[in-house]
């Protein structure tokens, strides 16, 4: 698992919370897929804008399949 994520009861959880845009861009992987425009934060390629991002109260869980990373 990359340094950006940790295992929690919710799943593969982003360590840096919901307000870390640089870290969210740095954590983008080969499975990145842009979410519906209504659900994206901005125009960047970022985990915050990925279709596999599932928001939690404090951060998000990565719902991607497999462990491949860039």
């Amino acid at each position: 698992m990359s340094g950006s994520f940790e295992h929690t009861p919710a799943g593969r959880t982003f360590r840096f919370g919901r307000h870390a845009p640089e870290e969210a861009r740095a954590a983008v992987c080969a499975q990145y897929r842009r979410d519906d425009e209504e659900e994206t934060e901005d125009d960047t390629v970022s985990c915050y804008n990925c279709r596999y991002r599932r928001w939690t109260v404090e951060s998000f869980v990565c719902m991607r399949k497999g462990e491949e990373e860039t």
Binding site: E38, R51, R53
Partner: protein, 248 residues
């Protein structure tokens, strides 16, 4: 006789299927093609993010208003549409509301607001629908049918007139375009322009349209938000620049 009918859907998607907004777009197009009614703009309503709620990615529902002379036909068509397009792994719910037929509109408004603050159940949703047999029509269309909660809540939030944002973006004719508020409104897609506190700006207000902007839903209207610039013009705000109060 034409009636207004709110239509809201939730939990129609999975990680790999079209989003709920896209599903509602497609449904509206099909309704229009069938001659059953014309849908208006779609609003997105953010519901509670909580570990006990099994949403796909963001827990929001999508709602629209249809003007129709055949409300029964619209509801039947929408139900059949969701049955036909069900994606394994999704838990779709549909809610249709005739606002004029509600015995107690405050109950629906309260449900909508409650869905933003605490975890609600299908039983909660069904109980409200049972109290409004003339005005509220709930249906499950696959999986757990959990989507009826968000669908009912979305109708309540749309009925409130002040929640959420409008699906889609407004695009300038050219980057940095200058126009007045009245000219922007005349293009369609927005009903008024306001400052970040929500105060409506006059029609002759000079605007700068630098980037695609997002309208929010306030007082029953589609509101574009603009911030003042040092040169006296007002800059229309993109979604990422909207004050937090417009995004919850």
């Amino acid at each position: 006789m034409e009636e207004k009918l709110l239509l809201c859907i939730d939990d129609t998607d999975t990680l790999d299927s079209p989003g709920t907004g896209e599903v509602l777009d497609t449904l509206l197009a099909a309704l229009a093609e069938e001659g059953l009614g014309q849908g208006s703009f779609i609003t997105r309503h953010q519901l509670l993010v909580h570990p006990d709620i099994p949403y796909t990615s963001h827990n929001s529902s999508m709602c629209t208003q249809v003007c129709t002379g055949d409300g029964v036909g619209v509801i039947a068509f929408a139900r059949a549409f969701l049955e036909r397009t069900w994606v394994p792994g999704s838990d779709p719910g549909l809610c249709a509301v005739f606002p004029e037929r509600l015995a107690d509109p405050a109950g629906l408004l309260a449900f909508g607001q409650a869905a933003k603050e605490r975890v609600l159940t299908k039983d909660d949703a069904r109980a409200l629908a049972e109290r409004e047999p003339e005005g509220i029509f709930l249906s499950e269309h696959g999986g757990t049918g959990q989507g009826i909660i968000g669908a009912l809540a979305g109708c309540g939030l749309r009925l409130s007139g002040t929640d959420g944002r409008c699906r889609g973006k407004l695009y300038p004719s050219a980057v940095g375009e200058s126009l007045t508020a009245a000219e922007l409104i005349a293009r369609g897609g927005v009903d008024c322009v306001a400052d970040p506190e929500g105060k409506v700006l006059p029609g002759d207000t000079p605007l700068v349209f630098a980037r695609p902007c997002k309208a929010v839903f306030r007082r029953g209207l589609r509101l574009a938000v603009a911030k003042p610039r040092p040169d006296g013009a007002w800059e229309l705000l993109a979604k990422q620049d909207l004050p937090e109060v417009f995004l919850v």
